[in-house]
């Protein structure tokens, strides 16, 4: 009985349902485009000339030019963006590597061969994430000043490592818990030591999860601005701090600001789109699969 009713629903309700589906599909498209609009407008404006960028009403079909990117990359005699970009790359990549180096063994000791109070330890890691960064800023500044580490990119590497370590431990713990225990036992019986087990057995199996963890740590380090602003000056300035020079508007600068914003966001956009499928699990600290 029930099979026939589901197999042959009445004609009118199918049409109604299809119509409703189309409307909801259109709504979804509208929402997606609306949220994407500011990003699209930023990219379009970055390819406009300065006078075309600052018109009201907006000039959608103005001719495209690469002028803003030329100015951004220092051809107009302004500050070169390369030192900040290289600093950001150094801080993000080095801190991500350091995070993995510390977090992988820790996650192993919290999932595969767990210590007794592994759950308490896991929550201790998370609790450090809830303490406001700004409350620790002054002592960090004073210590850095005393040991001569101000305006040094390696200070940011250490701070970004501590900032991302709790997230990475949580994520990796949930990814490593999915590695079948029998595989690890087999390696242990063969006499493999922990570094070998981690590198040869766990990394290949939990590879996608580890990659997602690295991408998220990279994104958070790349985006960070408060520490970078307070603790760096000229030599160790990072890309987001470089961007803050656009806070006050001086003359025609809109297209150049868009070019700089887009160029500096590009690594994160690329990393985020690449890790789309693992992004949810990562951002929810592994609680959402």
């Amino acid at each position: 009985m029930s099979a026939t009713t589901t197999a042959a629903p009445s004609g009118t309700s199918t049409v109604a349902r299809r119509g409703k589906g189309a409307v909801l599909g259109l709504l979804a498209w509208a929402a997606g485009l609306l949220f994407f609009l500011p990003v699209a407008w930023m990219v379009l404006t970055s390819f406009h000339s300065e006078p075309d960028a600052a018109t009201n009403p907006p000039s959608l079909l103005a001719p495209l030019t690469l002028d803003s990117y030329r100015t951004f990359f220092g051809e107009g005699g302004g500050a070169s963006p390369w030192p900040p970009l290289i600093n950001s790359m150094t801080a993000s990549l080095a801190s991500t590597a350091l995070v993995l180096l510390l977090a992988l063994p820790a996650a192993y000791a919290l999932s595969i061969r767990p210590v007794k109070a592994w759950r308490d330890v896991l929550f201790f890691f998370l609790s450090t994430k809830m303490l406001p960064v700004v409350a620790g800023l002054l002592p960090v500044y004073l210590i850095a000043k005393n040991i001569g580490m101000l305006d040094n990119i390696w200070l940011l590497v250490i701070l970004y490592t501590s900032m991302n370590l709790p997230i990475a431990v949580w994520m990796l713990q949930s990814f490593l818990a999915e590695v079948p225990p029998s595989v690890i036992e087999a390696a242990q019986i063969d006499g493999a030591r922990l570094p070998t087990i981690l590198w040869r057995v766990i990394v290949p199996i939990a590879g996608p999860g580890i990659a997602a963890t690295s991408l998220i740590c990279f994104i958070f380090s790349w985006n960070e601005m408060l520490f970078a602003r307070v603790l760096t000056g000229v030599t160790a300035q990072t890309a987001p701090v470089f961007l803050t020079s656009f806070i006050t508007s001086q003359g025609l600068f809109l297209a150049q600001m868009c070019a700089a914003s887009f160029a500096i966001s590009l690594p994160v956009l690329a990393a985020g789109f690449a890790a789309q499928d693992k992004l949810v699990q990562g951002l929810s600290l592994g609680a959402v699969k």
């Binding site: 589906g21 599909g25 709504l27 979804a28 997606g32 949220f35 994407f36 500011p38 990003v39 407008w41 404006t45 960028a53 600052a54 018109t55 009403p57 510390l102 063994p105 820790a106 192993y108 061969r113 767990p114 210590v115 007794k116 929550f123 609790s127 450090t128 809830m130 406001p132 960064v133 700004v134 620790g136 002054l138 002592p139 960090v140 004073l142 210590i143 701070l159 501590s162 370590l165 006499g191 030591r193 922990l194 790349w222 985006n223 601005m225 408060l226 987001p240 961007l243 806070i247 809109l254 600001m257 914003s261 994160v268 956009l269 789309q276 992004l279 949810v280 951002l283 609680a287 959402v288």
Partner: protein, 325 residues
């Protein structure tokens, strides 16, 4: 049996290996416990040194009257700084701003995220593309996002919002449409709008994952029993999503309470938008009042600990459910 000690080799040769080799009665167990703990230690020690010690230092500094412009006048002040912070109307105002900012942004982005997640849960043409477009705001560097909203969208003369109003008005033949100065007229709403734009995708992703983990057979049974879409949403979807809503709200709050970039860039803390992170930054970085800034920091930490105990309970319940599944 004899393979167990070799099967669990200590990862580092820091003395833990010796009792295993000697094999006294209680030795192997203790050695094995240390072998379990050893991989954890580097991360744990690193984190304690980098996060707990600065807070201890903040606590000590908070008891001193210390302005770095007058380094010779540093003196013990007991609870004087705390009294001053609690009596400071600016700091109390920034506490209120922090609460309003966080609540509005978290609730609005949860509601919008839920609506969009429900739309994306159905199959339609180009669903993957729409999901990708939706994620983009979350992936723009926060400083760039704040600049984008300040200059490209909100600017009263050439911003996209006023430009669009002008263009639409021109279409229907109105010559002088309203051109509000968004950030001056509604500073807090302007900051909130840019943050909601950035955080809605985050909430959407978590809630979409929640929607897709709904038990399919229950949904189908409800459909067959003639339940309406609204009934299914109200009595099946929403209870199922509760934990995902809590998780999204919690994680969003952790980050938005600490927001600095948007306030710093869009208003520089002016026009009543200074939140606690911005006020503390200003007290320390511009006013050089080290003692006061530390006292404010300590109070923020105490507040965070109270919130965090509650928040950790939420995560804990979510987590144990995940394990029991």
């Amino acid at each position: 049996m004899s393979t167990t000690p070799t099967a669990a080799p200590p990862p580092s040769a820091t003395g833990t290996g010796r009792p295993t080799a000697a094999r006294p009665p209680a030795g192997p167990r203790r050695a094995s416990a240390w072998a379990r703990r050893a991989p954890l230690m580097p991360a744990l020690i690193f984190l304690i040194v980098c996060t707990q010690l600065p807070f201890a230092a903040t606590l000590v500094i908070s008891f001193f009257d210390w302005n770095s412009l007058y380094p010779d006048d540093r003196s013990f002040n007991a609870f004087g700084n705390f009294a001053q912070v609690l009596g400071d109307s600016d700091l109390r105002a920034s506490l209120l701003t922090t609460i309003i900012l966080t609540t509005v942004v978290v609730l609005c982005s949860l509601a919008l995220g839920l609506a969009i997640a429900l739309l994306l849960d159905r199959s339609f043409r180009g669903r993957g593309v729409v999901r990708t477009l939706m994620i983009a705001p979350f992936l723009v560097v926060p400083v760039a996002a704040a600049l984008l909203w300040k200059h490209l969208l909100f600017n009263p003369e050439y911003g996209l919002f006023n430009g669009a109003i002008n263009w639409l008005a021109g279409l229907v033949g109105i010559n002088d449409p309203i051109q509000p100065d968004w950030i001056s007229d509604m500073p807090l709403i302007a900051v909130q709008a840019s943050l909601i734009w950035q955080w809605t995708p985050f909430m959407m992703l978590i809630l979409l994952a929640g929607l897709q983990s709904r038990p399919g057979d229950v949904m189908e049974a409800a459909h067959l029993d003639g339940a309406s879409d609204w009934q299914i949403f109200r009595y099946i979807t929403l209870p199922h999503l509760r934990r995902y809503l809590e998780l999204g709200g919690l994680l969003g709050s952790i980050y938005i309470v600490q927001n600095f970039d948007a306030v710093f860039i869009m208003t520089s803390g002016g026009l009543g938008t200074a939140n606690l992170p911005y006020s503390i930054y200003q007290t320390f970085y511009q006013a050089h009042e080290y003692g006061l800034a530390s006292a404010a920091g300590v109070l923020v930490v105490i507040g965070s600990i109270i919130l965090a105990t509650f928040a950790l309970r939420v995560v804990s319940s979510l987590f144990s459910e995940e394990v029991s599944r």
